[in-house]
């Protein structure tokens, strides 16, 4: 693990690079895109494990914090969809630069999946895109987070704070502009630019995942919709509740990225 700051000095991003550790050393890099800040804490351990597995298989891997999240510069309320998309592009450049890899694949979880699609749409090329429980419809995503927020507020005896429209969400500031940007996300109909190979891992059967997959197939992309091996891993539980992740889901994803580098 090599933690580092990169990017513009006024808006430095924090990332952790894993160089290949196994006997194989590929010219293939994988960029891992975290979910949104509300689901960041419960995803870190899984991302660390996934990164180590990919490095062991010979890939160069970078996971990084979006602007206003984790150790990166900025405050949570300063984050915006456009800037997070630009952060993915920046991180991809950094990863290629430090690794010398010629090919790049991207894995994004939840909001990170949606942002990765947008980054590819904006010109970032990737050999394969792996979307892990991606946010397909932003309004449903915000509504889901609000349900968790209500539960958490009730549990912590802040009943008066529950409900939609609040200026914070799951312990973080949540300004109106951010809410509106997230609610307006709709991946169906948005193609990931030049990327031709997509794998969607779904922890539970959701109509949005199926529609996204069908839209990609209709557009001529090679798309797979895969049931995550251990449904208890992802979705709601994986995002908010569980600190532990079974290795099976991560292994499936690592294999999918392995396929990309071999293709």
């Amino acid at each position: 693990m090599k933690p580092m700051f990169f990017g513009d000095s006024k808006r430095k991003l924090y990332g952790v690079y894993d160089a290949p550790t196994g006997t194989k050393r590929r010219s293939h890099a994988v960029l891992l895109c975290y979910p949104g800040v509300q689901e960041y804490g419960t995803s870190l351990w899984g991302f660390r494990r996934l990164s180590a597995m990919l490095a062991q298989a010979g890939h160069h891997v970078l996971r990084f914090d979006y602007f206003g999240t984790g150790d990166s510069a900025g405050r949570v309320e300063e984050g915006a969809v456009d800037t997070w998309v630009a952060d993915i592009q920046q991180a991809a450049l950094e990863l290629k630069d430090i690794s010398g890899a010629r090919q790049l694949s991207i894995l994004g979880k939840r909001l990170g999946g949606a942002l990765a699609v947008k980054a590819c749409q904006a010109g970032l090329d990737a050999k394969r895109l792996v979307l892990w429980d991606p946010v397909v419809h932003g309004s449903a995503y915000v509504s889901e987070l609000e349900t968790w927020d209500t539960r958490r507020n009730l549990l912590l005896l802040h009943a008066e704070r529950r409900g939609s429209g609040a200026s914070e969400l799951l312990g973080y500031p949540f300004p109106l502009t951010q809410r509106q940007q997230l609610q307006s996300l709709n991946l169906v109909g948005e193609l990931p630019g030049a990327v031709k190979n997509v794998a969607i891992f779904a922890s539970e059967a959701r109509d949005g995942y199926r529609r996204l997959h069908e839209a990609y197939v209709s557009a001529g992309l090679s798309s797979e919709l895969l049931q995550a091996a251990d449904a208890a891993d992802g979705g709601q539980a994986g995002a908010q509740g569980r600190a532990q992740l079974s290795g099976s889901i991560l292994a499936d994803m690592a294999n999918k990225l392995e396929d990309a580098s071999a293709a």
Binding site: M1, P3, M4, F5, K12, Y14, V16, V37, G41, L44, W45, R48, T69, G70, D71, A73, R75, V76, T147, W148, T150, R151, R152, N153, L154, L155, L156, L157, H158, A159, E160, R161, E168, G171, Y172, P173, Q236, A237, Q240, G241, R242, A243
Partner: protein, 296 residues
């Protein structure tokens, strides 16, 4: 005001990692201690809801340097396979490594440790032993139920929030809430084990630190914790003499991790102001109050 952040890697094989936030050189407090914070439970070094990032940047504006780091095996720090020590022992060693690194690389010879919930264990253990520790902040530190705690316990039945929690989570449909509100799998799990000292041992430890001149700040929240009234601390640490070096703050409406932004802001403001008062020679003298209740 500007500050700079850089990755600091340390430990025997350089596998412990953290982020050092330093003030602008023109704004640096000469002779001030460095502030250290690390993982709360299994949380990453950014802290619950990123509180250590916000706190570090705020303290840099006051002239303090802060290192937030991951102990062995957590966050971005690796664990050595050969290290079979128990977590508590290893955490203490990691904190000491962090202090030694800041001494070697940045010339610091005094430190303030920030313990938050489970990280209080290592903060306390190091502070008792290490003479270079001049301050300790106990956020949601050791708490023991007292006779008065139990006497006050029935008052919880009169709190509207508790009834609302019970009914809304058990019968969400009756309140027009989604059924998922009753999904317990959404709740965080408690995955760490604490080694509490006895109240007598804690009292002995605190007296040792007072004798050394260590400054202490203890902040407690209300909610579902074992802390129920402002002066409970001195009902389990039966040593009023400790009060001359310990400032006690009770925040009854806050919860254990200061989930609400407004609550975290107040905690960070208080911590920053306390550090400023205690360790900035240019700061105005304290008003002498040793106990505070934060409202709202």
């Amino acid at each position: 005001m500007s500050s700079a952040e850089r990755v600091l890697s340390f430990g025997a094989s350089g596998t412990l990692h953290g982020v050092l936030t330093e003030p602008d050189p023109a704004n640096r407090l000469e002779g001030a201690p460095a502030i250290l914070c690390w993982n709360v439970g299994t949380n990453h070094h950014v802290g619950p809801h990123r509180v250590f990032v916000d706190l570090s940047r705020r303290l840099a504006n006051l002239g303090f340097s802060t290192l937030r780091f991951d102990t062995s095996g957590l966050g971005d720090s690796a664990a050595s396979r050969d290290d079979t020590r128990p977590d508590t022992e290893r955490n203490v060693a990691d904190v000491r490594e962090a202090m030694q690194t800041l001494t070697k690389q940045r010339g610091f010879d005094q430190f303030v440790l920030v313990g938050f919930c489970s990280s209080v264990d290592a903060a306390h253990a190091v502070a008792v032993q290490a003479p270079e520790v001049v301050g300790v902040i106990y956020l949601e530190g050791y708490q023991y139920r007292t006779r008065r705690f139990y006497l006050q316990y029935p008052n919880r039945l009169l709190e509207r929030n508790r009834w609302e929690r019970l009914l809304r989570l058990k019968y969400p449909n009756l309140f027009g809430e989604p059924a998922a509100l009753n999904d317990r799998s959404l709740d965080p799990e408690t995955v760490f084990v604490r080694d509490y000292p006895t109240p007598e041992q804690l009292t002995t430890d605190l007296r040792k630190m007072v004798a050394r001149g260590v400054q202490m700040l203890a902040m407690y929240s209300g909610g579902d914790t074992n802390y129920a009234y402002p002066e409970q601390f001195f009902d389990f640490v039966k040593a009023p003499d400790i009060a001359k070096n310990l400032e006690l703050v009770f925040y009854p409406s806050a919860d254990h991790t200061f989930f609400l932004v407004e609550h975290r802001e107040r905690v960070m403001n208080y911590v920053s102001a306390w550090l400023h008062r205690k360790f900035d020679d240019a700061a105005p003298p304290s008003n002498g109050r040793r106990q505070r209740i934060l409202e709202g």
